[in-house]
């Protein structure tokens, strides 16, 4: 009989018993037929039970059988205490599920290696220097010429690959009216080969397709796009599309798992670097540089070599900067180059969210520990009521290990059930969180496979958690001394001490979670209530594009046409919307002096823009239709403070300095308004006329609706634009409010999730506290009964019951406070205008913990005070 059949026999023990019984019965009957005395024949077998046990044990694996018995018994016990078990399982499930979901996100964004060869040898290059605001800054974008130089320098040691920062490009497969958007990435021709990627269809482009600027308009589409857009039609190979002024031909489809190197974005179309118009420009940094190290090549010497190449390039380039502050040039030349591991890819999403996700993951882990402490307390309390059962088991010969097994198996049930529910929760929650990272029109797309990595994590977590909350109660239960336990006189204090310690731990973690959540919520609150300086009410933004660049007069025609649409209040034009993250800057020369810090920011707007955005004009006038750039400028208050020391600059002329000096006459002053981000300090801004001498291809038409719901105008406006002039097309329609909300996506996500986990933590800690208090009242009911009988007042009883625990709560809160102030340093960058040392930030969690403790203590105190001395003493 194989081991497997023996294991299988564990689970059909009944049949096994029956068969053995039947065989023995037949033997006895035959013996009697042969004339043996029936009684004697039976006696010859000895104890039937022993016989059966002996025969049975050879037929199955004894320890598995005992495990099975414990599992059945454990499940029965859980079912007996339905409510407490359910509470334990659910709280643990929530915690395990959240942890698993957090792991899924962190793994997908930061840990999981790209599905390419040599992912472990992949690095990315970044500059470390000083930003325009004087703070340390890091950026990982490079120009194409410097990439080429570095690539040549690294030959033989490493392969350098350039990948553009992905953009949503407009492609046309048929007519111009059917333009569609796709995530486009320019990549080095050598990328597919270097990554060892095979095509799913057609061919992948190579180094040879990437030799001459503009020579090879070929494209490879991703498998995801092939499936989504073309239903995996093999005829897609050879199709062409228009992009800008080029016609590209699709030559192949990438392999299924590969979605590009920009984690968080699924690329649709790859085209060679040489097809980008900026391929020869040294001043346009639009590439990430990935380094695939050859095996055995040390990192540091290569990094120094590349840094030297970059420095030489920048030094050469700086010679051309005639009108730039010398300090800035020095800073530029002092930049350090770093090589960072990039086996999980390299993207802005990683930069923006890694810290947030890790902070959330930590909060979730704390919630898990709180839940574990709860279950441990529950098990300890149950162990107390089981002391007699355990003592009995020891008395009839159960080994110590058998008792540990018994209790651990019960814990394993709780762990396993919780893990099953938690898995379902994680399945649902992780994609939900990714969906919340959705700045308008650019939602994050993160591959979230639930494979062995996630399952392994969940399994390890469950196992770890089971031991965490199950081992101590199990060891305690097994160390029972039969003599004293059966007499009912075991020392209850040691057990209570353990429970109290766990309460302190719970409160400490709970305080920490509340504290951090409070900081996140306050940050979000500050940020979202930040005055923006304009009114986003009822403002629609129509990102509009034309097949060929159009003069400003054509744009004005479209604006006039839209003004006539019923329900439209005002219409204006700007190059891009405020708070869209876009900006353009330049160094200024004031009074003809050499250019100096800081940078000034620009936005070209049509007459009526300021009025439409409700940015108040403080002095001077708005633009007129005949104002042309270069020429006039309207500046904001910060501009006046920065460059004119607050003196009225109307009528004065300043110069933009790059690429050549261009004058602008200040005709008006407006109040400060947020320019590109809510997070940076107010910038000096100069608005310049929308009209200029060259034609314009892209701009934003801004419409303020008269009615409360601007989106009801959306479809009519979309249709009206091409009707006004057929070359015009709305490629995207958003509300200004969406752009403001997008600025706070991360903060809102953090605040929401942190608040949720803080509530869970508080709830769990409350349940734990109340459970322990209840238990101690039960344990001490004899003592309380006697005290009440001899006339102790209710207040004294309440004090007696809560004294130890309140000391623990205070100790826990103090520990939590200490932990909080230490750990908050690591997430400071996630806060906005919030100081962790702010007294209010500390008072809030303290108050919440205090109130929760009060609420949790109340039922136990009521119960203690209402103990009937006579009843209690009689029942013992």
């Amino acid at each position: 009989m194989s081991l497997w059949s023996r294991i299988a026999n564990v689970f059909r023990a009944d049949r096994l018993n029956r068969e053995i019984e039947e065989e023995l019965q037949l033997h006895i009957e035959e013996a009697i037929e042969q004339g043996r005395d029936p009684v004697e024949a039976r006696r010859a077998f000895g104890s039937a039970l022993r016989q059966r046990e002996e025969s049975r044990d050879v037929r199955l694996v004894a320890w598995i059988d005992s495990l099975r018995a414990d599992a059945v018994f454990g499940l029965r016990r859980l079912r007996k205490t339905k409510v407490t078990s359910a509470a334990a399982i659910l709280s643990l499930a929530l915690a395990i599920g959240s942890c698993t979901a957090a792991f899924r996100l962190i793994d997908a964004l930061l840990l999981r290696p790209l599905p390419v060869a040599h992912a472990d040898q992949l690095y990315s290059l970044a500059h470390h220097g000083t930003g325009f605001d004087g703070k340390p800054s890091t950026y990982d974008s490079w120009s194409a010429p410097v990439l080429r130089l570095m690539r040549d320098a690294a030959k033989g040691q490493a392969e350098l690959i350039g990948v553009s920062i992905s953009s949503r490009a407009e492609l046309t497969y048929a007519s111009d009216q059917e333009m569609e958007r796709a995530y486009l990435q320019y990549v080095s021709g050598s990328m597919f080969d270097a990554f060892g990627l095979p095509p799913a269809a057609g061919r992948l482009f190579t180094e040879n397709d990437d030799l001459q600027p503009g020579a090879n308009p070929v494209a490879v589409i991703s498998y995801d796009y092939w499936e989504r857009r073309f239903g995996r039609d093999p005829k897609v190979i050879g199709r062409t599309f228009h992009l800008g002024n080029d016609i590209f031909q699709i030559v192949g489809v990438g392999p299924e798992p590969f979605t590009g190197t920009e984690t968080g974005t699924v690329i649709d179309v790859f085209v060679p670097l040489m097809m980008n118009g900026s391929i020869l420009r040294g001043d346009s940094t639009w590439l990430r540089t990935l380094v695939i190290m050859n095996p055995g090549v040390p990192i540091e010497p290569l990094r120094q070599k590349l840094a030297a190449v970059s420095l030489a390039f920048e030094t050469e380039r700086a010679k051309g900067f005639t009108d730039m502050p010398q300090g800035k040039i020095n800073i530029l030349l002092k930049e350090e180059i770093s090589m960072d591991r990039a086996s999980a890819g390299s993207s802005n999403l990683q930069k923006d969210y890694s810290r947030s996700l890790i902070a959330l993951g930590t909060l979730v882990a704390l919630v898990l520990l709180i839940a574990c402490a709860n279950v441990a307390n529950l098990m300890t309390a149950q162990a107390a009521s089981r002391a007699r059962e355990m003592a009995l088991r020891v008395s009839i010969g159960a080994g110590r290990w058998r008792l540990v097994q018994l209790v651990l198996v019960e814990s394993a049930w709780i762990g396993a059930l919780a893990a099953a529910i938690g898995a379902a929760f994680a399945w649902w929650a992780a994609p939900l969180v990714v969906r919340m990272i959705n700045p308008p029109d650019n939602p994050a797309r993160l591959a979230l496979p639930a494979d062995w990595r996630v399952l392994g994590f969940a399994a390890a977590l469950t196992l770890g958690v089971t031991f965490l909350f199950g081992l101590v109660p199990a060891l305690r239960a097994s160390s029972v001394k039969p003599a004293s336990a059966l007499k009912g006189g075991e020392d209850p204090h040691s057990r209570r001490r353990l429970m109290h310690a766990l309460i302190a731990v719970q409160v400490a973690f709970c305080f920490l979670v509340l504290f951090v959540a409070g900081l996140f919520v306050a940050s979000f609150d500050r940020l979202s209530h930040q005055p923006v300086g304009f009114s986003a009410d009822r403002v629609l933004l129509l990102d509009t594009t034309t097949a060929h660049a159009q003069p400003a007069s054509a744009w004005n025609e479209v604006v006039d046409r839209l003004r006539a649409v019923p329900g439209v209040e005002t219409v204006a034009l700007s190059e891009w919307p405020l708070l869209s993250g876009v900006g353009r800057n330049n160094y200024l020369s004031i009074h003809g002096e050499p250019p100096k810090d800081p940078l000034c920011f620009f936005l070209s707007v049509s007459p009526g823009f300021l009025d439409a955005m409700k940015i108040p004009l403080l002095d001077g006038r708005d633009f007129r239709l005949n104002d042309v750039d270069p020429g006039a400028a309207i500046v904001n208050e910060t501009f006046v403070k920065t460059y004119y020391n607050g003196e009225n600059p109307i009528g004065k002329t300043f110069y933009r300095t790059y690429p050549k000096r261009v004058p602008a006459l200040i005709v008006g002053i407006v109040r400060d308004a947020r320019y590109r981000s809510l997070r940076e300090s107010m910038l000096p801004v100069a608005y310049i006329p929308f009209s200029r001498n060259d034609a314009i291809r892209n701009a934003t038409i801004l419409v303020r609706a008269a009615g409360a719901n601007p989106l009801s105008l959306a479809s009519i406006l979309r249709q009206e634009v091409p009707r006004a002039r057929s070359e015009f097309r709305v490629r995207n329609l958003r509300t200004q409010q969406e752009l403001i909300d997008a600025q706070t996506v991360r903060e809102r996500l953090l605040a929401m999730l942190a608040l949720f986990f803080a509530s869970v933590a508080l709830l769990l800690a409350g349940i734990g506290l109340s459970g322990v208090l209840n238990y101690s009242v039960l344990q001490r009911r004899r003592e309380i009964g006697i005290r009440l009988a001899i006339g102790a007042p209710a207040a004294a009883i309440a004090r007696l019951v809560t004294m130890d625990v309140s000391a623990m709560v205070v100790a826990g809160a103090v520990a939590g406070l200490a932990l909080g102030t230490v750990s908050v340093r690591y997430i400071e960058t996630l806060f906005y205008q919030i100081k962790a040392t702010d007294l209010r930030m500390l008072a809030l969690p303290a108050l919440a913990v205090f109130l929760a403790a009060l609420a949790a203590a109340l039922p136990a105190v009521m119960r203690a005070v209402s103990i009937d001395p006579v009843d209690t003493l009689r029942s013992e």
């Binding site: 025969s55 044990d57 050879v58």
Partner: protein, 109 residues
């Protein structure tokens, strides 16, 4: 459970030998055969026979099968496996060695 003294060993030997001579026997038949062929000198205890059979099945020396007897009752019959035949040969040889050694001792005294 895991006694393996000489008596136990000889019980295994007897059972294997009987089964090699009369394959597909059930427990009672094996017991009777031991008794008959030893002219009532040896007898297998019922209390040891069945655990021994089950143990040998577990060890892979015998395999069992349920059949319906002429009387209509179900019976479990046993037969030797290839491993059982090898085991029988070994046991037999061991037994010969031990008994001849014992005999030599008895003669020299």
């Amino acid at each position: 459970m895991s006694k393996s003294d000489s008596l136990q060993g000889s019980l295994d030997l007897l059972v294997l030998k009987i089964l090699s001579r009369r394959p597909r026997s059930h427990g009672y038949a094996i017991m009777s055969a031991i008794k008959d062929s030893s002219a009532d000198v040896l007898s297998a205890e019922e209390g040891s026979l069945y655990p021994a059979l089950h143990r040998m099945e577990e060890a892979g020396w015998v395999r069992s099968e349920w059949i319906r007897k002429d009387s209509g009752r179900r019976a479990r019959i046993y037969e030797l496996t290839a491993a059982g035949k090898k085991q029988l040969a070994q046991e037999q040889e061991r037994w010969q060695t031990v008994t001849s050694a014992v005999n030599r001792v008895l003669r020299t005294v």
